[in-house]
Symmetry: C2
Subunit: 438 residues, 2 copies
């Protein structure tokens, strides 16, 4: 059958949608609004047969009356009139996982936005899909509407990936950019974000870097052909980022971002999620507010930067629909870009590759104080690229000192940070932040 | 057969590569270097059977000894041991087109990087591919390694596209950014670019905006479901961009870019390629050197920005390989995202949507001069957002004046630009440039 005729003759592709929160209702809305366009592009009509959610009575601002209702997502997954099970419930265990397993085992294709599920059980689920001759797709799980899964599994198929990194939690980026623009401390902006409804019910998922780390683990698996290994991500959230550091970093030409970085090194797979300094005039540095950005580096293509809305009804539903249309078109690509059984168990790198670091400390007004600091850095094998001492202030005569080091190892930095307070010329704890080369 | 077994059991996919310039040799190199990785990702081995180019004797820095040689690309297209015909010759007519037609008619899939061919004959070729049950893919034709064709035909399938725009000729962007950073006039930097080998043999293709307009016509077709219609692109190159305008635009917070914009309006399809002002701190404004950027706006996903190398051996070959892997995986998507027969003939918009404009003129030192200028703008229905008059200089007392208008129509601007010299207070011709909202 030629592609021209597909649209007229083909049977509809029938969806069962489990989970009717923001993304679920957004997905229903697109299918209702763009039915004709979707049929044209997919080559066959795309319809919804049945839906499922916790509370049937909730007002959802979308007409669900023509769809069958299931109280239990697992029952939805088993319906014979469903071709694709669309899982938009969330959560790495429980009902979401059980329903996805049931759907794959009963011969359904699965589309999900569930980053936790994929980051933790991704290899098992992808393997199950392949064993059953089904597909499992999850474009919406990483960076909302940004087509990063497709870019990595398909567009960069001819590349050995060198590094993938990104700002993948809009709430954290909102908090950091708002701190800078309004000059407000972390706690104040955190409270603002909570009141605006930007935070997850458990805010640690956002500000603790968990959510972004789920996404990083998925990207790392695709990039390096390894099993998703969320447990091996070194995670630090944004809770310790101070307005002082944001201001001082800006003085030195940097911005602080919660940056996820994955790269394969000679010592294993490095997966880090932490506040890092990036040049203020780089694409990552210029990223404001809730927007997400992913940077992928391949040996042939060089650096690709993708930028867009990382969350929200429209963008995330748009990603869900792209997976649905792909399946409707008959596209069947392994979940992680290669057979699940071939994904290797990664050896986690025990330490990050060398980098420049930013160090901020409070120097007391004593003769030879700066010399002692410099000596500690020298003893730790760290050489200084730039240093700036601000004026002494307050009755105790404390002077902020900023140091940008040349490339050095995390171990050398740890050594110096531990030794600095012992000089007796430092007030409080020194702060160190990695400067990522972007 | 499950995906796990595909790699071991499947027959190799055999390529015939026509054209062994930069992109062709780059494609051969990736296939040689990443044979195992490609096999794993594609689910079957990818091999080269035969190649073709004008000059067999040329030293190409790549080992071609294990491939059959054809002097004629059309003969290569007809070989029985070729599954995909990879056309990297270029040119909208002649041998490239004939060979692609021959390949499609003889049942081969086709991958090409030929933007001119697609922009002009795209609908015919896509239709022929579909009639013959073959696919025609061309990721490499637009913006090199940036996966913009895939993003539009696949990732944004759930969106009505509102606007697509971009900086898609690296040479022009190099010239414009180099003019700004070095403070050099157009002619000097043009000559530099020529000596660096950045310009096409016919430089009008680059600086005249032709090459970028081919790309825009392809993107517009995918975005709006219309036949590619290069003839309807309103094209203006960068030849008239002066260092004065670059400096003055920077004073007002803008950068000048050769920007392609396509949008569907109530009055038809607008396709424009012209030097425009964009805010200096926008992603497009910050784009330096030879890098490309495409911005796509969809009704669900919002704004997606894709950035990367728009040309060069590695990036363009990476895009060619992504199409090859896609075909190897059995993916068969209509060339323009929907059946070629359904692509409508677009009604070209006779005029662009309203925008703010930048006007620069040389005011003579006469009483009431500025009032006369303001009166002309008012009579044309143009209101002024910002104006800046610099000091009079030279023995003739000429003062540069910059005006940023509120949104107005191109007709009103044309009217004003025609009327301004008649005031008798202007030296030389006034300059106007559109300010694109990005």
């Amino acid at each position: 059958m030629s592609a021209q005729n597909l649209g007229q003759n083909a049977s509809p592709l029938r969806l069962g949608i489990a989970g009717l929160g923001t993304v679920g209702t957004g997905t229903v809305k697109i299918i209702q609004k763009h039915a004709e366009l979707l049929g044209l592009r997919a080559g066959r009509p795309i319809t919804i047969t049945a839906v499922s959610a916790r509370d049937r009575m909730k007002n959802r601002d979308v007409d669900l009356s023509s769809y069958a209702w299931e109280d239990d997502a697992r029952a939805l997954a088993l319906r014979e009139d469903v071709d694709i099970f669309v899982e938009l419930i969330g959560g790495e265990e429980g009902i979401a996982r059980e329903a996805v397993l049931a759907a794959l085992k009963s011969g359904k294709d699965v589309v999900t936005a569930n980053k936790a599920l994929l980051a933790i059980h991704g290899q098992e689920l992808a393997g199950l899909a392949e064993t059953n001759g089904r597909v499992l797709r999850f474009e919406a799980a990483v960076a909302g509407g940004i087509p990063v899964i497709k870019a990595m599994t398909e567009s960069m198929a001819g590349n050995e990936i060198r590094r993938v990194m990104g700002v993948m939690n809009g709430t954290c980026n909102y908090i950091l950019t708002r701190m800078e623009s309004a000059g407000l401390p972390y706690e104040t902006v955190f409270e603002e974000a909570r009141q605006l409804g930007y935070l997850e019910a458990d805010p640690t998922l956002d500000v603790g870097g968990i959510d972004a780390s789920h996404k990083l683990a998925i990207l790392a698996a695709i990039a390096f052909g390894t099993r998703p290994s969320f447990d091996a991500v070194e995670i630090e959230g944004i809770e310790r980022v101070s307005i002082d550091d944001i201001r001082r970093a800006a003085d030195m030409g940097y911005r602080i971002k919660l940056l996820g970085v994955a790269q394969m090194t000679g010592r294993g797979l490095e997966q880090r999620m932490s506040p890092c300094l990036v040049p203020a005039d780089s694409p990552l540095g210029q990223l404001q507010g809730g927007t997400n950005m992913v940077v992928i580096e391949g040996d042939s293509v060089g650096q690709i930067v993708l930028r867009g809305a990382g969350a929200g009804e429209g963008p995330t539903a748009s990603a869900v629909i792209s997976d649905v249309v792909e399946i409707a078109r008959g596209v069947r690509i392994p979940s992680f870009g290669q057979p699940a059984a071939r994904l290797s168990v990664p050896q986690p790198a025990r330490t990050a590759v060398p980098a420049a670091y930013y160090i901020r400390l409070q120097l007391t007004d004593k003769p030879g104080a700066l010399a002692k600091v410099a000596a500690v850095l020298g003893d730790s094998g760290i050489s200084i690229d730039r240093m700036r001492q601000y004026g002494h202030s307050g009755h105790e005569g404390i002077a902020p000192v900023l140091i940008v080091t040349h490339k050095t190892t995390p171990e050398a930095i740890d050594h110096a940070i531990e030794a600095l307070p012992r000089t007796g010329v430092i007030a409080g704890e020194p702060v160190e932040l990695r400067i990522e080369e972007v």
